[in-house]
C-alpha cells in the first residue's frame, strides 16, 4: 500500500474516511443501544438491584445460586425447550408439505400462497386473542361448541396443564407455517427441471425424486429455516402473554416460557438483578445452540 503514488493514496484514504463516517453512526447506535446494555446486564446479574433503589448492592453469584434452586426457572426453561422441540419440526414438516403440494398443484398457486401466508403477517397479538377466544369453554369457544355439537366432552385447552402448552403451540405453528412454506417454495422453484428430467429417464419414481433430488438440494433452505426457526421458537413470548390470563403463563406455570419469566421478574416484581442473571443464562444457552448449529453446518459442507 505504501508504494502507491501519493495522489492515489490520498484518494483511497478519503474514500475510506467517508466509508467510516457512514459506518460510525450505526456503530455508535449499536454500542449505546445494544452492546452497552448487554454488558451492563452481566454486571446487574451480580447485584440485587430492584429498579427503584439508587444503589446496586453487589451480591456476587447469589442470584445464580438462587436460580439453580428455583423450580419455576427450570419449569420455564423446559417449557421453552418444548416450544422449540415440538414446534420447530412440526412447522417445518407442515411448511414443506404445503410448499411441495402447492408446487405440484400448479393452478391457483398465488391464491394458496396468500392464504397460508396471511397469518404470518398478521399481528401476533391479534392472532393470540382470536385463538384465545376460540379455545374458551362454551358458550364462547368455537372449538368447544363444535365438540359439544358432535357429542364429545368439552376440552379445557388453555386451562389444562397438559393441553395449554400445545394449544399455544398450535396457534404459533398456524401463524408460522406460511413463512416456512414461502421459503421452501422458493427453494423448490430454484431446483433445475433438468435434474428431474434426467431422473425420469433413469426410471426414478416420485418418491425417489423427493428423497434423492428435492430434499438434498433443499439443504441450504432447511438449514436456514432451522436456524431462524430455533431463534423464533426460543423467543416465544407474545402468544403466552396474550393467551394466558394477565400474561401469567399458567395454569401453574405450564405455558410460561423463560423469556416471559424474565420479563415478569424484571418489570412486574422489579427484581432486575435476578432477571439479568436469567438473561445471562439464556444468552449462554442460545450461544451454545448457535455454536452447535454452526459446527454441524460446517461439517456437512
Amino acid at each position: 500500500m505504501n508504494d502507491l503514488p501519493a495522489s492515489r493514496g490520498s484518494l483511497e484514504r478519503t474514500k475510506r474516511v467517508w466509508a467510516y463516517l457512514f459506518l460510525i453512526l450505526p456503530i455508535i447506535f449499536y454500542v449505546l443501544i445494544r452492546f452497552y446494555p448487554t454488558f451492563y446486564a452481566f454486571y446487574l446479574s451480580l447485584t440485587n438491584w430492584d429498579i427503584v433503589s439508587k444503589d446496586k448492592q453487589f451480591i456476587g453469584l447469589e442470584n445464580y445460586r438462587n436460580i439453580m434452586q428455583d423450580q419455576v426457572f427450570w419449569k420455564t426453561l423446559s417449557n421453552t425447550g418444548k416450544y422449540v422441540l415440538f414446534g420447530l419440526p412440526v412447522s417445518l414438516l407442515l411448511g414443506f408439505s404445503l410448499a411441495y403440494h402447492i408446487d405440484k398443484a400448479g393452478r391457483g398457486e398465488g391464491f394458496f400462497k396468500a392464504v397460508y401466508f396471511i397469518p404470518y403477517i398478521t399481528s401476533m397479538v391479534a392472532v393470540a386473542w382470536v385463538w384465545r377466544w376460540l379455545y374458551q369453554p362454551a358458550p364462547i369457544g368455537v372449538f368447544n361448541k363444535i365438540l359439544i355439537s358432535i357429542g364429545l366432552p368439552q376440552q379445557q385447552f388453555l386451562f389444562s396443564q397438559s393441553q395449554a402448552l400445545f394449544s399455544i403451540l398450535a396457534t404459533t405453528i398456524w401463524a408460522d407455517v406460511g413463512f416456512q412454506m414461502i421459503i421452501f417454495l422458493a427453494g423448490i422453484k430454484g431446483i433445475s427441471v433438468q435434474y428431474y428430467e434426467a431422473a425420469e429417464i433413469d426410471g426414478a419414481n416420485s418418491r425417489d425424486k423427493l428423497f434423492r433430488i428435492t430434499l438434498p438440494l433443499l439443504k441450504p433452505t432447511i438449514v436456514f429455516l432451522i436456524v431462524t426457526g430455533t431463534i423464533r421458537y426460543l423467543r416465544i413470548f407474545t402468544q403466552v402473554l396474550n393467551m394466558t390470563y394477565q400474561g401469567e403463563g399458567g395454569p401453574l406455570n405450564s405455558t410460561k416460557p423463560l423469556v416471559l419469566y424474565i420479563y415478569n421478574s424484571a418489570f412486574r416484581s422489579f427484581d432486575m438483578g435476578y432477571a439479568s442473571a436469567m438473561t445471562v443464562l439464556l444468552f449462554l444457552i442460545i450461544l451454545l445452540i448457535t455454536l452447535i448449529q454452526l459446527r454441524v453446518m460446517k461439517s456437512e459442507d
Partner: protein, 431 residues
C-alpha cells in the same frame, strides 16, 4: 488506518461510558421555571373521569393559590407502575404522585417518598378524620400517602336474571347460605353439564382473592395475617375451611367456574352470570350498559360475621421535593384530600370519600348504589400487600392445584401460605 480504528473505538467507548451522564443532563434542563410562580408536577394513570376531575380541581386550587401552578401528567394504566419505577433511579419525576397503596412499600423503601409533614398531616388528624384502613399507608409510625377516595367490595345482582329464574328481583341474598341457594337457581347447564349461565363469579384473578383473604377467612373465625402484617396466619383451620368452601363452589355446588366468558366482568355485563362481587369503580362500567338491570348490596354475611376488603390509590410527595415546591405540594395534597375534592370524586369517578364523617352523611350512606360500599367500609380491611401480583398468584396456584391436580385443600393452603410468607420475608427481613 490503524489510527482511525483506534480513534473510533475510543470514541465509542467514551460515548458508552458517558451515556447515563447525558441522559441526566437532558432531563434536568427541563426544570427551569418562573421565579414568581412555583410549578409542581402531579402524576396519575390515565382514567378519563379521574384526569378530568383533577383538571377541575387544579383550576379551583390555582384560583385560590395564584402563586402555584400544577401540571398534571397521566400515563396509560398498564405502564404506570413501570414508568414510575424507572423514574426513581434518575431522581426525577413529579412532586405529588398517585400510587396504588399496595405499591407503597417498594417506593418508601427506595426512599422515593417522604413522610407527610406532621405540621399539616399529623397522625392524630389523619386517624381522626380518615377511615382506619388508611393505616395501610403508615410505615414506621409515619403516613406516607393519603387517598382522595377508597373502594370496597359489594355484591352485584342481575335483576332480570333473578326474575327469569323465579326469584324476587328486589331481594338479594343476605347470608352465604342464601348466596349459594340463589346461585344454584340462577345456574343453567346443558345436558352434559356445560355452563350456559353461571350463578356466581369465581375469579380469583379479579376480586375473589380479596373475598377469600379478607372476608371468608375472617368469617370462619380466622385472620389472614398477624397484627403486624409480617406473618401469614391463614394456614389454620379457618383458612382450610375458607378455601374448602371456595373450591366447593365450583366442584360441589356447581354454581360457576373461573374464566367463564373469559372473565367475570364480561360474563356479568352480557347477562350470563347472576351475581358478581366487585368494587365501586365497576359501577361506571355497568351503568354504561342499557341492557343490564342490576342492583348492589352488601357482601353476604356468614355465621353473623360481616367483613369486607378495601383498597385505595393514594397521593404522596416525592423525597426530592424541597423548599417552595414542598410547600406548594403540601397545599395541593391538602386540597386533593379536602371534602370538596372527595365529594366531586364520588360524583365524577364513583369512588368513595376517604373521610369517615363525609362518607357517612345520610345522602351517601343510603344511596342505592354507593350506600352498600360505604356501609361496607365500616368493617373493611385493606390488606398490607408487599407484592400484590405475587400474593394473588399464590391463591390462583393453590386453586389450580386443588381443581386440576386434586391436591388436598390443607396441602394447597399450606403451600400458598409458605409461598406468601416468602414474599413477606423478603421485604421484612431487614426491618
Amino acid at each position: 488506518m490503524r489510527t482511525i480504528k483506534t480513534v473510533l473505538i475510543l470514541a465509542a467507548v467514551l460515548l458508552a461510558v458517558s451515556a447515563p451522564v447525558f441522559a441526566k443532563g437532558a432531563q434536568e434542563s427541563a426544570a427551569a421555571a418562573d421565579p414568581e410562580v412555583t410549578e409542581i408536577v402531579y402524576w396519575q394513570y390515565f382514567y378519563e373521569t379521574k384526569k378530568d376531575t383533577v383538571d377541575t380541581l387544579i383550576e379551583m386550587f390555582e384560583a385560590e393559590n395564584p402563586d402555584i401552578r400544577v401540571v398534571q401528567q397521566t400515563f396509560p394504566y398498564e405502564q404506570y407502575n413501570t414508568k414510575v419505577a424507572s423514574s426513581v433511579p434518575s431522581g426525577q419525576g413529579p412532586n405529588v404522585i398517585n400510587l396504588y397503596y399496595g405499591w407503597l412499600p417498594t417506593y418508601i423503601d427506595s426512599g422515593y417518598l417522604q413522610p407527610l409533614p406532621e405540621s399539616t398531616f399529623s397522625n392524630e388528624r389523619i386517624e381522626a378524620e380518615f377511615f382506619p384502613l388508611v393505616g395501610a399507608a403508615k410505615f414506621d409510625g409515619s403516613y406516607y400517602a393519603l387517598p382522595t377516595a377508597v373502594r370496597s367490595l359489594a355484591l352485584f345482582w342481575n335483576k332480570d336474571l333473578f326474575e327469569a329464574a323465579g326469584l324476587d328481583p328486589e331481594t338479594p341474598p343476605e347470608t352465604v347460605e342464601e348466596l349459594i341457594e340463589f346461585a344454584k337457581i340462577l345456574t343453567k347447564t346443558d345436558k352434559n353439564g356445560n355452563y350456559l349461565q353461571t350463578g356466581l363469579t369465581m375469579e380469583l384473578r379479579a376480586q375473589m382473592h380479596h373475598w377469600l383473604r379478607e372476608v371468608l377467612i375472617r368469617q370462619y373465625g380466622g385472620a389472614p395475617y398477624s397484627a403486624d402484617s409480617r406473618e401469614v396466619t391463614y394456614d389454620s383451620q379457618a383458612g382450610y375451611d375458607a378455601f374448602q368452601f371456595f373450591t366447593d363452589l365450583n366442584s360441589v355446588e356447581h354454581i360457576g367456574m373461573p374464566n367463564f366468558m373469559t372473565d367475570d366482568v364480561t360474563a356479568f355485563s352480557s347477562g350470563m352470570m347472576g351475581m358478581t362481587m366487585d368494587g365501586s369503580f365497576r359501577l361506571g362500567t355497568f351503568d354504561k350498559l342499557d341492557t343490564l338491570n342490576y342492583g348492589v348490596t352488601e357482601l353476604p354475611s356468614m355465621n353473623g360475621v360481616k367483613s369486607n376488603f378495601a383498597s385505595f390509590w393514594s397521593n404522596g410527595i416525592t423525597s426530592f421535593t424541597t423548599g417552595k415546591e414542598l410547600e406548594a405540594s403540601i397545599k395541593f395534597l391538602d386540597y386533593l384530600t379536602s371534602d370538596t375534592a372527595m365529594s366531586m370524586w364520588l360524583e365524577n369517578v364513583g369512588e368513595l370519600p376517604a373521610k369517615k364523617a363525609l362518607a357517612m352523611k345520610e345522602e351517601f350512606k343510603n344511596d342505592p348504589k354507593y350506600g352498600p360500599f360505604i356501609r361496607g367500609l365500616e368493617y373493611a380491611t385493606a390488606t398490607k400487600f408487599i407484592d400484590e401480583n405475587a400474593q394473588r398468584m399464590v391463591w390462583i396456584d393453590a386453586y389450580d392445584q386443588v381443581l386440576l391436580n386434586g391436591m388436598p385443600v390443607e396441602d394447597a393452603v399450606d403451600q400458598a401460605a409458605a409461598a406468601e410468607q416468602q414474599v413477606l420475608d423478603t421485604y421484612y427481613k431487614n426491618r
